[in-house]
């Protein structure tokens, strides 16, 4: 049952081959049995079973939508009313949100079943899930390795088929890098497509919600349901959501794929590079053309990102002060003492490091040299993409320079950890849609991710190309042996 696609679940539920309650119990049972992955912070058995019975009523009365009765898990930075929303942090370890995020709201309205909240790097700052206050998450393909981050709990859970699909967020690669490390299909839509209301903010000009799934078709179905204008988010775009599912079957003959030489340099592991090359040949055999493009400023993306993201984070995270919600230190002398101790005890090391960097680059005397400089580079990076898209329909490369690394390997070196985002964060800086899909496995049996970046607002072309690729390949159907 757990290897089915969403479309198969949808059909089986409608034909009453199994009920939503049966499906929900099946997945909850798998979650409890796989507790060693530590993919979940909270499991919402009771709520899930209540939602499932309600969905079963809708299904039998014939008023159900195509996602009704299908389970999902939410990354623990989407607010869920009355349920813990921790953001992987001690400072929110006891926070029960008084309201639902719009994404949660929309998927509840579709009749999806919330199985729980997934583990993540604290405040989404990390590429390994090792910064969570709730412990590290294991990669189901090799439990000694990281699942990637920051949406590592969502990725680990979907890869082990503990849940068919999970929400996630991406500020610099937090959907795509874990998708690559766990052999999943993940999409970060264009900035503004998915409402950020109730999505705990990290870097507001970069954050975007999206989805981790096992196929492009599944991703398209859920993305469709979670996208759309939300008056409660001032960055939400007032646009109709395209019908992502209707374009999946289009041929990709004649589509032009841009290959930036900057994404194929010698920093890429040779097995990863070879697998990506094979994928390019696969797409060519399906009628796509390739062309070389240039993204000459892409080397500036990492330094630029590590100014802008911490700067925005230091501002966003100033709201955690021990006054209105979350953790407050036990002993304090005065207000400032309370703030300082609460934040030093409540935030983990990496989060404090980023707050410090952000505070520094925004501080008097350094603002122009760092923050404005980074914003100028951001424009150069975005302009590079605009020029490349004059020649191609989407850009392709590896999602990450290497496959999943061993837990603890990059813990002592923040800079080495930051380089995980080297191919992914430029899409966030430019606000472009991007996705990762499975392209093969290296000699250790670890998944390799293929990265596609599309034109602004053109998620359709990416999902179409990914779906067509998945009709010809079966990498996305592989399940880690222990979880089959």
């Amino acid at each position: 049952m757990h290897a089915n696609t969403l479309r198969e679940h949808s059909e089986s539920l409608r034909k009453r081959e199994y009920s939503s309650v049966e499906l929900t119990r099946h997945f909850l049972d798998r979650i409890h049995r796989a507790s060693d992955l530590n993919a979940f912070i909270t499991i919402t058995d009771e709520i899930a079973l209540e939602q499932a019975s309600e969905s079963d009523r809708l299904l039998s009365s014939g008023v159900a939508g195509r996602l009704t009765g299908i389970p999902i898990a939410h990354k623990d930075l989407f607010c869920t009313r009355g349920v813990l929303t921790t953001c992987g942090s001690r400072i929110l370890h006891n926070f029960k949100s008084p309201y639902d995020a719009t994404v949660v709201d929309k998927l509840n309205a579709e009749g999806m079943i919330t199985l729980g909240k997934t583990n993540m790097d604290e405040f989404a700052m990390g590429s390994s899930c090792e910064t969570s206050y709730f412990g590290t998450v294991a990669n189901p393909w090799d439990k000694a390795r990281v699942p990637g981050g920051s949406s590592g709990g969502s990725a680990s859970a979907v890869a082990a088929r503990l849940v068919p699909v999970a929400s996630a967020t991406d500020t610099g690669g937090s959907i795509r890098q874990p998708a690559a490390f766990c052999g999943l299909t993940g999409i970060k839509p264009s900035y503004g497509r998915v409402s950020r209301y109730g999505m705990i903010a990290f870097a507001s000009s970069l954050d975007q919600g999206g989805i981790l799934a096992t196929s492009a078709e599944d991703a398209a179905m859920v993305l469709q349901a979670m996208s759309g204008f939300d008056p409660r988010d001032s960055t939400s775009l007032q646009l109709e959501t395209p019908d992502y599912c209707s374009i999946l079957d289009h041929s990709i003959t004649g589509k032009t794929i841009g290959l930036p030489k900057e994404f194929f340099d010698d920093g890429v592991d040779c097995e990863v590079a070879a697998i990506v090359q094979q994928s390019v040949m696969q797409l060519e055999s399906m009628g796509a053309k390739t062309i070389d493009v240039e993204l000459p400023n892409s080397r500036a993306a990492i330094p630029c990102y590590y100014v802008l993201a911490p700067a925005e984070a230091s501002s966003n995270l100033s709201r955690f002060d021990g006054v209105r919600y979350g953790y407050r230190t036990g002993h304090y002398d005065d207000l400032v003492d309370m703030y300082e101790k609460t934040r030093a005890e409540g935030f983990g090391e990496e989060v404090q490091r980023r707050i410090m960097i952000g505070t520094y680059v925004l501080s008097s005397g350094y603002y122009d040299a760092y923050y404005i400089k980074a914003q100028k580079l951001r424009r150069l990076i975005a302009d590079d993409f605009s020029r490349a898209f004059e020649k191609c329909d989407f850009i392709l490369g590896p999602t990450t320079p290497a496959t999943a690394f061993v837990l603890g390997e990059k813990n002592d070196d923040p800079v080495a950890m930051y380089l995980n985002d080297i191919f992914t964060n430029s899409a966030n800086l430019a606000g472009l849609p991007a996705m990762s899909l499975p392209a093969g496995f290296d000699s250790r049996g670890l998944p390799v991710g293929l990265h596609l970046i599309g034109r602004y607002l053109d998620e359709s072309t990416l999902l179409n190309a990914a779906h067509q690729f998945q009709r010809e390949t079966d990498w996305h159907r592989r399940i880690p042996a222990e979880y089959q």
Binding site: P98, D368, A382
Partner: protein, 104 residues
């Protein structure tokens, strides 16, 4: 005075670290300041690579795709949620958040 594009400081001292921590409202003990200085200096070295690219005459981009933030009508739409919000506060009384005494 115009600030030159080139940052002035590449490595941070423990004293500077303590100053930044104060601005960020983070308690930083002296023994932490030293290792923090080393780590942050390494990150600043990475950030410093920005200066390899000339950006004179480039307009800063503050928002992806230069989209403007949408404004809404100045109208009250939220309902009174006082109770729900105070219920999750670390300390509250009579509809107010409690904090240590600020004015003697």
């Amino acid at each position: 005075m115009a600030i030159p594009e080139k940052p002035i400081i590449m490595s941070l001292t423990p004293t500077e670290i303590r100053h930044i921590a104060k601005l960020a409202r983070l308690r930083m003990e002296d023994h932490q300041a030293r290792s923090c200085a080393t780590q942050l200096s390494r990150i600043l070295e990475l950030i410093e690579q920005m200066n390899r690219i000339d950006t004179s005459d480039i307009e800063p981009m503050s928002h992806p795709q230069d989209t403007a933030l949408r404004l809404r009508e100045d109208k009250v739409t939220a309902t009174d949620q006082t109770e729900a919000y105070l219920e999750i506060a670390p300390a509250s009384e009579n509809g107010l958040y409690l904090v240590p005494r600020v004015i003697e």
